[in-house]
Symmetry: C2
Amino acid sequence: MAAVSPLAPERFPDLAPIAGVRLAAYAAGVRYAGRDDLMVAELVPGSEIAGVFTRSRMPGHPVTWCRQCLPGGKVRAIIVNSGNSNVFTGRAGWQVVEATAATAAGLFGCEPSDIFISSTGVIGEPPPPDKIVAALPSAAQALSAEAWEQAARAIMTTDTFPKGSTATATIDGATVRLNGFAKGSGMIAPDMATMLAYVFTDAALPAAVLQPLLSAATKPSFNSITVDSDTSTSDTVLLCATQQARHAPIANSDDPRLDDFRRALETLMIDLATQIVRDGEGAEKFITIEVSGAENDDAARRIGLSIGNSPLVKTAIAAGDANWGRIVMAVGKAGERADRDLLSVSVGGTLIAAQGGPIPGYDEGPVAEHMKGRYITMGIDIGIGAGRATVWTCDLTHGYVDINGSYRS
Amino acid sequence: MAAVSPLAPERFPDLAPIAGVRLAAYAAGVRYAGRDDLMVAELVPGSEIAGVFTRSRMPGHPVTWCRQCLPGGKVRAIIVNSGNSNVFTGRAGWQVVEATAATAAGLFGCEPSDIFISSTGVIGEPPPPDKIVAALPSAAQALSAEAWEQAARAIMTTDTFPKGSTATATIDGATVRLNGFAKGSGMIAPDMATMLAYVFTDAALPAAVLQPLLSAATKPSFNSITVDSDTSTSDTVLLCATQQARHAPIANSDDPRLDDFRRALETLMIDLATQIVRDGEGAEKFITIEVSGAENDDAARRIGLSIGNSPLVKTAIAAGDANWGRIVMAVGKAGERADRDLLSVSVGGTLIAAQGGPIPGYDEGPVAEHMKGRYITMGIDIGIGAGRATVWTCDLTHGYVDINGSYRS
């Protein structure tokens, strides 16, 4: 197991119980020995769910399953295994999904379509047919309202630390809680990466309200991070609401009484997303890319991701080199509207280049100092509009090459 | 200087003289010490030219200059320096371009717009204002019909070997010759990368015929290679015809009498393009990706490039791991039409996966053996159409991270 990322938070946050949610972690032996690799989250009957999934044309069986279940909007349990992604595993893989859902439905007394499933790990090897099914009864016995960190640990693959976040919000005078955890480290790119995230709240919001809230919050969070530009076949973000909070019914996601909840959800999801970047495979530096002045917000995000995905930018930062010429290159290749003579680039708050060339007399000293740190910021102003976005990524190091040359073997 | 790539051809090919072309290499001292960094190609009056350039929104000054000159279709000289790309260098950089063209026009007795200019090297530092201009008269003195390899060496940056190719073709019964040389090693991606290529022929073809021939040949050659997905600000491919061959005038690029020339040009450009991949920064393995069965040829090429740009695929190959699950992932993220259950993947000629899963009883032995070699082939059949493309790339190694962490400093 790799050492913990130098960018990891000091510790897993304290996640208080959420009424209607119980969790368990269990060592099912899918692939890893001596660690939990099965996570079960049980939700009280009546819980509602929203989801967003990978846009890959080669989605894993669990993603296909969840997509089938989502229109119902109901959830009784989420089952996640690590070690095997159950992607491109043919009929045998699909049977594992069906058997898992049927067994869990029996345990929890619900329909199989109330069981949501995710899998993460190696692609293309059918998962062992019986391990998950055999482990479910014991895992269900172990359910507790406190097992947040254990749950976050059970879904890890190449992750070096578990990722959790918590927030509270006020809806119509009532306080609701949000807890979330996530995994992800490589194959992380926009449009969701090998990235699983589960967010739970006691809010009394129906699926029809949850879904637009989740979709909107995904763009500035999970769709604004990149580790390596590779998009996974398994990406899944689920938002579950147990309906246990006491507030007036809300039927529309645009309701202003949801403003604080919307803010809390987005903040929590950005926290989880940036934790994934902090655990980027081989990452030594955390990079924040602020793009302004683009044609619109989407253009700004695409320019930010073009910079964040550039191997040349990322290797330069790994070496502590403020190679702003490569930033200009990455803006140029993004395909969005830009004008060389209006662009400006700053690193660590120091303006380096503007009006088509380097700033006369620009002093590299403070920038060189900034580049030695763990946290690198860059600001790119396109100079043609009001579009803004923030994108997060990490550097490209020897560690990335090592990890990905040995992951499967 | 890095060691020569293990994928380099054994030697620079013999390039016979082309009537109407003389070349010189010269040490102008733009940035490098003790090596040639200025290339001058002189073409006989009446020579015609075609060009394709980077699609970057941040093109270098020399690209802007060439685009201005191209509509004239005439060329008397090409001036290329290495060590400084003259990109994002403001007014000072533009003045260097103008002074270079004016000085060369005086030397060769032509209009400045008959002088084509390229620069390659570091971005964002204005080139020294007088070095190129001062060197031009001496370089012009040294022009010779034989200096092809010296010319190819003078334009190198991080390249570890000079890249040349030659071909002959028959046009209407007359034999014409094509010679070309190129540079490129990193910042190599579709739509032209930090890649300069110059092709010369004695064919008697006007610019209006050369341009469509060049544009068509660029797609299966320079636009079908990738090293690191980063697109340069300076990419330039020029095709010059000295009109010295004796064959009937041809006014249309679709003329069947050009079939053999078209084939020779495409073959030569693919040879140069794949030499660039063989010199990919840090490359240890040369990867050929054959995509078939896609919706159309462009879709096949985009799928091939999605695989060829995937850091996860490239690091796995660096480690000798036939991680075909990552190939499936990269097909999935390409955004082109695909169906999991119709896709098939083979590596080194061995079918590994089809019909949505691994081939039952698939023997990894021959594939593992293939993966140990320098030359990796993979075949991906999408199974839904007749679109085909071949894409070439290299593996992603520690060498790439090293080279790009130290290039500027």
